[in-house]
């Protein structure tokens, strides 16, 4: 069996917060990520989904060590990188890149496209074969930008084109892993498909692995091989894409899937919808027992006291629930 590109075990990231007023000494923690296990193999896409505040972005950033993990281990290409210092991380960063959500905020407005993409070479002190400018222009062409626009500034591009700049920058050093944090959610519908297709083509060409963080289940379903569903810092369900979408076993996944609107009026009208009551509880003060118990329609006493472990219930399908939904087949 091949070695995973990325393997994280028991990953936790807690952020300190002050709980009281300005003068209070009360200190609490937000358990943004509270024990997440995950594996990504070469050429694979893992979709990480959940609602705002579930910790999916924090997982992405901690994996790249943009945040120091509170507990757990991160293995990249079989090497434990959890304890590495920023200096030790630097050469390894060429292998792991990120694509950000907001193509307006993630590109320095005072730098030209050439500089923005070229920076990646300078930082790693790499001179690409055939010259830097040529390589930048080749990358621009590869992501569907006009190479003649190398001296233009980000404001001269549309949202979709800017995201292409972000993609070019991420693939410049031929990384093994790309963490894509909501890469298409800021784009217009007709542009989203262009960027999704580009990401898929690049994956095939370079055998890239993606950790695809998003809230839009339709996009995640389309691009992922496996999907991990998070809720309040914990993994609720982790399964092969087909398994998860056809046969969700966790009540939260089931509710989440039933809430996704389908662009088909007849199906939309006929579908049975599980409408969850209330909102996401605050991650500062998560519910005891199963974190989902305040909104779950199957909740029983056990759920309020005992934390369900993430267990395998069929090959390659893990859930954290005391009372899973029956398998449909």
């Amino acid at each position: 069996m091949t070695q995973p590109v990325l393997k994280i075990t028991g990953l936790k990231k807690h952020f300190p917060v002050s709980t009281g007023g300005v003068f209070s000494k009360g200190k609490g923690v937000v358990k943004a990520v509270d024990g997440v296990d995950l594996e990504i193999f070469p050429g694979q896409t893992i979709g990480l989904v959940g609602e705002s505040g579930c910790g999916k972005t924090t997982v992405g950033r901690t994996v790249l060590k943009l945040y120091e993990p509170t507990a757990g281990t991160i293995e990249f290409n079989g090497e434990d990188i959890t304890k590495l210092t920023p200096k030790q991380m630097k050469p390894r960063r060429a292998q792991m890149q990120m694509i950000f959500q907001d193509p307006f905020a993630s590109l320095n407005p005072r730098q030209t496209v050439g500089t923005l993409i070229g920076n990646t070479f300078d930082i790693q002190k790499i001179t690409p074969e055939g010259g830097k400018v040529e390589e930048i222009q080749r990358l621009m062409k590869r992501v569907g930008l006009n190479p003649e626009h190398i001296n233009r500034y980000p404001h001269e591009f549309s949202g979709g084109q800017r995201q292409r700049i972000g993609v070019a920058r991420a693939i410049a050093l031929k990384p093994k892993l790309i963490v894509a944090d909501e890469p298409v959610s800021a784009l217009d519908v007709s542009i989203q498909a262009q960027v999704v297709n580009l990401l898929e083509d690049l994956q095939e060409e370079f055998n890239l692995s993606y950790l695809f963080v998003a809230h839009d289940l339709s996009v995640v379903q389309h691009i992922s091989d496996r999907v991990v569903v998070m809720y309040l810092g914990k993994v609720m369900e982790d399964a092969d894409k087909k398994d998860l979408f056809l046969n969700p076993r966790h009540p939260y996944t089931k509710a989440l899937l039933s809430a996704v609107p389908v662009p088909d009026p007849k199906i939309g009208r006929a579908r049975e919808r599980i409408i969850l009551q209330g909102d996401l509880p605050s991650p500062v003060n998560p519910p005891a027992g199963c974190v989902f118990n305040t909104r779950c329609w199957k909740v029983q006493d056990k759920c309020r006291t005992e934390v369900p472990e993430l267990v395998q219930i069929q090959p390659g399908h893990k859930i954290a629930c005391h009372f899973p939904e029956p398998a449909s087949k």
Binding site: E51, G160, V189, S190, A193, S218, A259, P261, V262, L276
Partner: protein, 339 residues
């Protein structure tokens, strides 16, 4: 009997230093009580500009507005485009109301929810602050805010995103309007909360027998709530019809392209998405001919280069289904993939 709102040839443009921005162009549609019209389009397609014109919220001095938008009130029809501004102001919040995408910026952070709701009510009803708060509490209960009598005294920051949107809906409906314009009401919300709010809008529409205009870019949301749909592109309605017609027999290459380009959660085959190439044109100096021509994969099938020279008109293709396209029915069937 005519529909509650009738918009005819509405055109909105903004003169700017760079030239005239044709934000919405020759828009005609109608919505009746109890009916939901969805307006779909990308950013800059003119969907919000059109609804702001209906609400009379454009600055009349710096905006060119032509055409009409007639509200058929019990007291008689009023054209909100040509009516005096203070008359339109007295319709806002009473005959017609609007809710916005971001409830946090639409609510005042310094006033309690109760104060803000009762202000809206007292504008059109005789009653003191106490009566206003009572009415506010009733409305909060109606839109499903638990513990309404306590929460009415709280401030916007104490509410979650979904609860704030409920507050906005309560405020918009407090004077029993006949028309509600909802501009991307669920875009800022998580999916599980989105389905709560969409359900609430449906319930409220029944309760108040309102005409609803839902502005959104999400074709999934449209499929769930719309009776009829306007598809907008570069300031124009490019296709108009009942929801089923738009989804199952789209008559414009842009609509066909949109439906092909979105992944569906219920389709697991993993087919490659068919993206629409290029990007929308600038609204200053729109190209001659069809605005969608440069992104259209079928434009070269039309004889005499017609798409480049003549802007297509919004023609009826079938019973109450309109499209702005030069393609023949046979070519459209091929464009839809044989359907």
């Amino acid at each position: 009997m005519s529909a509650f709102l009738e918009v005819k040839n509405l055109t909105v443009s903004f003169p700017t230093e760079d030239g005239l921005v044709q934000a919405s162009n020759d828009i005609s549609f109608s919505v009746d009580r109890g009916e939901t019209l969805a307006v779909v389009g990308e950013s800059g397609s003119g969907k919000s500009v059109t609804s702001l014109a209906i609400m009379g919220l454009h600055n009349r001095k710096s905006t060119n507005i032509n055409g009409s938008a007639i509200l058929n009130l019990e007291s008689g029809p009023i054209d909100v485009i040509s009516a005096p501004e203070d008359q339109v102001r007295r319709l806002r919040g009473k005959a017609m109301s609007m809710i916005f995408q971001d409830p946090m910026s639409a609510l005042h952070p310094y006033y309690s929810i109760g104060d803000q709701l009762s202000e809206a009510w007292r504008l059109y009803n005789k009653g003191d602050k106490k009566a206003g708060h009572k009415r506010a509490t009733e409305m909060l209960e109606l839109v499903g805010i638990p513990d309404a009598s306590k929460r009415v005294k709280e401030f916007p920051h104490q509410f979650s995103g979904g609860m704030r949107q409920r507050v906005m809906i309560a405020m918009a409906l407090i004077n029993n309007p006949s028309l509600l314009i909802a501009d991307e009401p669920t875009t800022a919300l998580d999916v599980t909360v989105q389905s709560q709010i969409l359900q609430l809008l449906k319930d409220m529409q029944k309760e108040f027998n309102m005409a609803v205009i839902l502005i959104t870019h999400d074709l999934g949301v449209v499929a769930e709530v719309a009776d009829r749909v306007n598809v907008m592109y570069a300031g124009k309605i490019v296709e108009q019809g009942v929801a089923d017609g738009i989804y199952y027999k789209p008559d414009h290459p842009y609509t066909i392209g949109l439906l092909n380009s979105i992944p569906r959660v219920d389709q697991l085959e993993g087919k490659r998405l068919i993206a629409i190439p290029g990007q929308p044109p600038s609204l200053i100096n729109l190209p001659q001919g069809c605005s969608f021509r440069k992104r259209c994969t079928f434009a070269d099938q039309v004889a005499d280069n017609l798409c480049a020279t003549l802007a297509p008109s919004l023609d009826m293709k079938e019973n109450a289904h309109f499209s702005r396209c030069h393609l023949t029915e046979k070519q459209l069937v091929a464009a839809r993939g044989g359907k």
